[in-house]
Each structure stands twice: as C-alpha cells, then as structure tokens.
Symmetry: C2
DNA sequence: GTGAAAGCGCTAACAA
DNA sequence: TTGTTAGCGCTTTCAC
C-alpha cells in the first residue's frame, strides 16, 4: 500500500506537507504543491480514510434511515441525498429500520456516522435516543410529517424537513366538492394511535367543507402498519364490502392508491366513473398508472438534497433551521365528477 | 469518548483482554468475560470503527453500485444485500453510477470498501478497472446479465450472479405462439451495440419458433439508454406510429412495460385484447398494474442476499464460484389470445 | 513556508 | 489464560 510517507519521500518533502497540499489546510508553495501532486499521480496514491477518520474524528460518512426501498419514494430521496454527498466527498449508507430502534441507533453510533437523515418520522425513536446520538456526535435531520400523539413519545426535537400539505389538501377537497363529491374515504395505513399529518389535515378540511362525517370512512391500518400496495388493496376491499357508498378515496401514498385501484377494479367498478382515487407522493409511476393517478406531489429528490445540505452545515458547526417545503396538487385522470343520479 | 482502555481499567484487565472478549478471537475466562461485559455496559462503551479498520485493514463496509433507485428493482436488491450485511456487522453504502467509471471506482477504492456488488453489468467498466479494484483489496461480484459485444470491453471476468432466462423466455414464447401470436415486438432500451441477454434469447427463440422476423420490431433505445417508464412509452409510441401490426410487445423490464401500456392505451387500443404486454423483473408493482402485468420474475431480494454472502466468503479468503439463478414466468392478465379475424 | 513528533483507538504478534 | 507493545496512516500542534 502506498502511504502518505511514500509520497513525501518520492516528492522530497515531509509527510505534513503532503497532508497540507491534500487538504488545502495550510499554504504550500506552488513549487512543492506541484511536486507533491506529481508524486501522487506517479505513485497512484489514495489516502486512507480510516486513518484520516481516526485522526480527525470525522468519517465523511452519513446515513439515511428508511423503512423500505420497495417504495421508490425513499429511493428517490436517497438519490437526492447521495447527489449532494458525493460532491462533498461523503458517502451515504443505507440504514434499514429493522429490528428495535436501539439496534439501528447503535449501528449508526458505532460507525460514528457524521450525520443521518431520519427519512420518516414514525420509526418510534424517542427524544432520549436522539439526544444519545447527538451526544455521540451524530448530527441528524428529521424528515416525514407525522406528529405522534401516542404516549410513547412526544414530538421529537431537532431540525426538520417537513412538507406543507395544507394548501394542496384544501385545493384537492375544494375541487372534489365542486365536482359533486360528498362521501370521501381516507386510508391512513397507520396505527390509529398515530395522528398522521396528512390524515389530520384531511379531517380538518373535510369537516370544514361539509363532507359527510362518517368515521367508518377513515380507515386505519393493521399491524405492522405498512403502507404498501397490498395494504391499500386489503383496506379498500374491506371498505367496499361494507358498502359505504363513497365516491372518492384518498390514500396515504401512491402505493396504497395502486392497491386501492386494483381492489376497485376487481369489484367491477370503474375509475374514475364510479370512484375517484387520489394518492400522495407523486412517485414517478403514478403517471403511468391506469388511469394516471391524481396525487399530491412531494419534492422527494429535493428533500434528499436539502437533508444532505443541512447535515453538511451542522457538521460544519453551523446552526440549522427547519425547512418547510410545499406540496403540489397534480390533477390526472383518476378523478372525475360524481355521476348524476 | 470512552475507549477500550477505559473499559480495561474499569474492569481491572488489560486492553487486549477487552479486545479478546469483544472479538471472541481468543479464549477468555468466563470470570473476566463477565467483568468486561459489565464494564462495557456501565460505561456505555462503543468500539471505534475507524481505529479498528486502521489496525485490521478491514472496514466491514461494502457498497452496491446502482444506476438508479427510481426503479424499485435495485431497491429490492439493496434491501436483500443489507439484510445479510447487517447480521454480520457490515454496513452497505450506496454508490450511484454517476460520472465517469473512474470516478466511482475511485470512490470505492478510497473508502477501502471490503467489497462491492456491481448490480448491473452495463456500467461500462473494463477488466482493467476491475483488476485495479481487486489489487486494492476490494472484492466484487458482478450482477446483471448483459454480455457486451461492443469494442469497449470484452466479457468482464470475476464471480457473477446471473439469472438463467432461457427457460422462461422459451416458455413465454411457446405460450404466445399457442395463443396465436406471430408478430412480437421487443423493446431493448439499450445501446444497439450492446447485445443484451434478454434480447439475445428472445431473438434466438423467436427465430426458432418461427415468429415473424421483422427487424423493425426490435427497438433499441436512445442515449442515454435508460430503461424507465418514459423510455418504454416513447419507444412504443414510435412503434405504434409506424403501424407494424404486432400483437404482443415484450419490454426489457417492467418499468418500460408500464410506459408501453400507457402508450397503447393512449392510442385507443386495449390491453390485452389488441396488444399483449410482457415485462421483465416482476417488480412488486407489476401485480397492481392495469391489467396486472405478465412478466418474468427475477429473484431480486435473493440476488442481493447471495451477493452479500459471496462477498463475505471472498473477504474470508474463500474461493467463490459464480451463481446462476432461475427466472420464472408469471402469467397475469396483460396477455391474451390474438383476436380472430 | 516547512517539518518533527505526539497522538487518534485498535489489532495482533509475542511475552509472561 | 492474560498482558505488553509495536505499529496501522493520518491530523495537528508547535518549533524551526
């Protein structure tokens, strides 16, 4: 292995000088700079990260905590994060939220990651655990928009990246009202104890706009509270079987919407003529769905990018403020006016 | 920061003994083991990876090189890989195949990753680059099934994980023939210079089974040779516009199939009555497509798991053989007999 | 402006 | 069975 000392010897300078030209930490005469650079190329020298980390107490290594990668939603966020990380010499590791929260917190701390993006809110982490990470020098940004109202944990504290759905949901419901919808179902997929932001806003505006207030139309998930297509499928099937005569259904995300659409088609009903379907996220497959899915766009790639940028700032010792992004209503063909009669 | 020496002092043993109980590398009396374990808990000691890496020349850090995470195909492979890695104390980093090949090769080497899974074949890597990685102590497994026949590189050498499509494609084509199809289109999405395994096998069996041999029905992609839904959409639109009267279309992957379906619907044609559609991969959304997509299942999660297992073996100094998995034809509703008349 | 040297926390001989 | 110790390759003062 070629080490920094080899380069120093080859260039006829001291090891420290090699470090200095490499890190730009001190001024080095252009004479020596070029000699060192020459030596680096000739020897094919690549610095040893482990040694660097050990000495500098920085790993240039961050993580993204995700519940799954089957949902391209998280994949896109990860891509955004990586795109920024790469340009700053950072590498992004995948931390799957599997096992107990303590287990994946340990994995993060043990690696001395410089930072981690908690891409979703509902990992069941506690403030105590977050504090523990912080004390261990791991910076973090909290994504996702849920606000847990269960007893397990109060609102987590730390810089957040959130999305403001308020306008989009209002716009959506106004639109649905205008085209005649009165009974709208909402599939949350989540634990009934968790008050999810999307659901909360739906309920609020739904109430204010005078939609039918049938609690049966708001469906929580079943353990383990996944929000995949199969979950949307199952919950929609159940909802259809109890004949609630809703004319539109909103699901927590696009994946669940795909499942809902399948269930609706299987019952011999038509989308959007019989039932309109609306998702959340605007994953890129929602456009090629059949019919193309009306959904609320979340700037996923940007979320990943911003998360990484904030992390970089925090690592630099800067104070970081929470960031709020806006969602956008995307109208496609899965929504139509209620049939007359 | 709590170090190993602190633990040693606290437990009244030598630092080496702490290492030994931590790594199980040597026998330690149960008396000392419990004293050390106690101290570790009391102090909340977490070993420093950087120091460990520096001393052991192992990072317990691997990577997965992927072209994109918008396609859940790669997400699922990454999940499989991570599931095994985690249980062996490894962490998986995301290496996006962006920039030049030299750039991401450097990123891998510089991090001294113990290993990397090249999830797809067509990254444009050369044998020389692979050799370079190997010499730097980075083990690798090659996934994907393409066989480049262009001048850039001959077949890459190294342990592979491949999927045998032969049977599935034969089975598919036999089935299509039986139900009356004679003109079948194939969207490769790729560079025409790249002879892709899926395409090659299609051509071979297509020829042997006596399907119409119209070269216009085999469509290459356009730079930058992506295989996303929009690419399938665009190529199908073009194909439909030149009125080739095909009755079935096979696309390189499910994503392209989704795009193809959209294009077909937009032309006012019906799936499967007018045109049957078949994909590859069996990503989990293919089941909720409309109609549910007939496709060839690739064991994605298993590929990730096996890749990681092979990597672990290589890191252990074992000789590793290439692995060949079988694909499976999944019949769903996007295929139907050709209409009479 | 440049270099010498003391760590960073751990592994892995080798001693005891 | 347990302990001692010499590195691993780099950062970072602090002299020169």
């Amino acid at each position: 292995m070629i080490t920094r000392d080899d380069v120093a010897k080859h260039a006829g300078v001291s090891p420290a000088t090699v470090s200095n030209v490499l890190n730009g930490s001190k001024y080095v005469s252009s004479e020596l700079v070029s000699r060192v650079e020459q030596a680096i190329i000739e020897l094919g020298y690549i610095p040893n990260r482990a040694a660097k980390s050990l000495a500098s107490k920085k790993t240039d290594h961050v993580g993204i905590l995700v519940p799954t990668l089957s949902n391209p939603y998280y994949g896109t966020i990860a891509e955004g994060m990586e795109s920024i990380a790469r340009h700053h010499g950072y590498i992004v590791s995948l931390i799957m939220a599997e096992g107990s929260t303590d287990q994946y917190i340990s994995r993060i701390i043990e690696r001395q990651l410089d930072g981690v993006f908690l891409s979703d809110f509902n990992f069941g982490l506690t403030n105590k655990q977050l504090l523990h990470m912080k004390n261990k020098g791991v910076h973090f940004i909290i994504g996702g928009d849920s606000s847990r109202s269960d007893s397990t944990s109060a609102t987590l504290s730390g810089p957040r990246i959130t999305v403001n759905y308020e306008n989009s949901i209002y716009e959506l419901l106004m639109y649905l009202k205008k085209i005649g919808h009165r009974r709208i179902a909402f599939l949350s997929g989540n634990d009934p104890l968790i008050t999810e932001a999307r659901q909360t806003l739906f309920l609020k505006w739904s109430h204010e706009l005078g939609f039918d207030d049938d609690p049966d139309l708001v469906v929580s998930g079943t353990p383990p509270y996944m929000t995949l297509a199969e979950d949307g499928y199952r919950d929609t099937k159940r909802l259809l079987s109890i004949r609630k005569n809703f004319t539109a259904i909103i699901t927590l995300n696009d994946l669940m919407a795909f499942g809902a659409m399948k269930a609706i088609r299987e019952e011999g009903l038509h989308i959007p003529e019989d039932i309109s379907v609306i998702g959340f996220d605007n994953i890129y497959l929602s456009e090629t769905a059949c019919p193309p899915l009306t959904t609320i766009h979340i700037p996923k790639y940007e979320i990943g990018q911003i998360a990484m940028k904030l992390l970089l700032e925090m690592i630099d010792g800067e104070d970081v403020q929470s960031v709020k992004l806006e969602s956008t209503l995307i109208l496609r063909d899965s929504v139509a006016p209620v049939k007359k009669g």
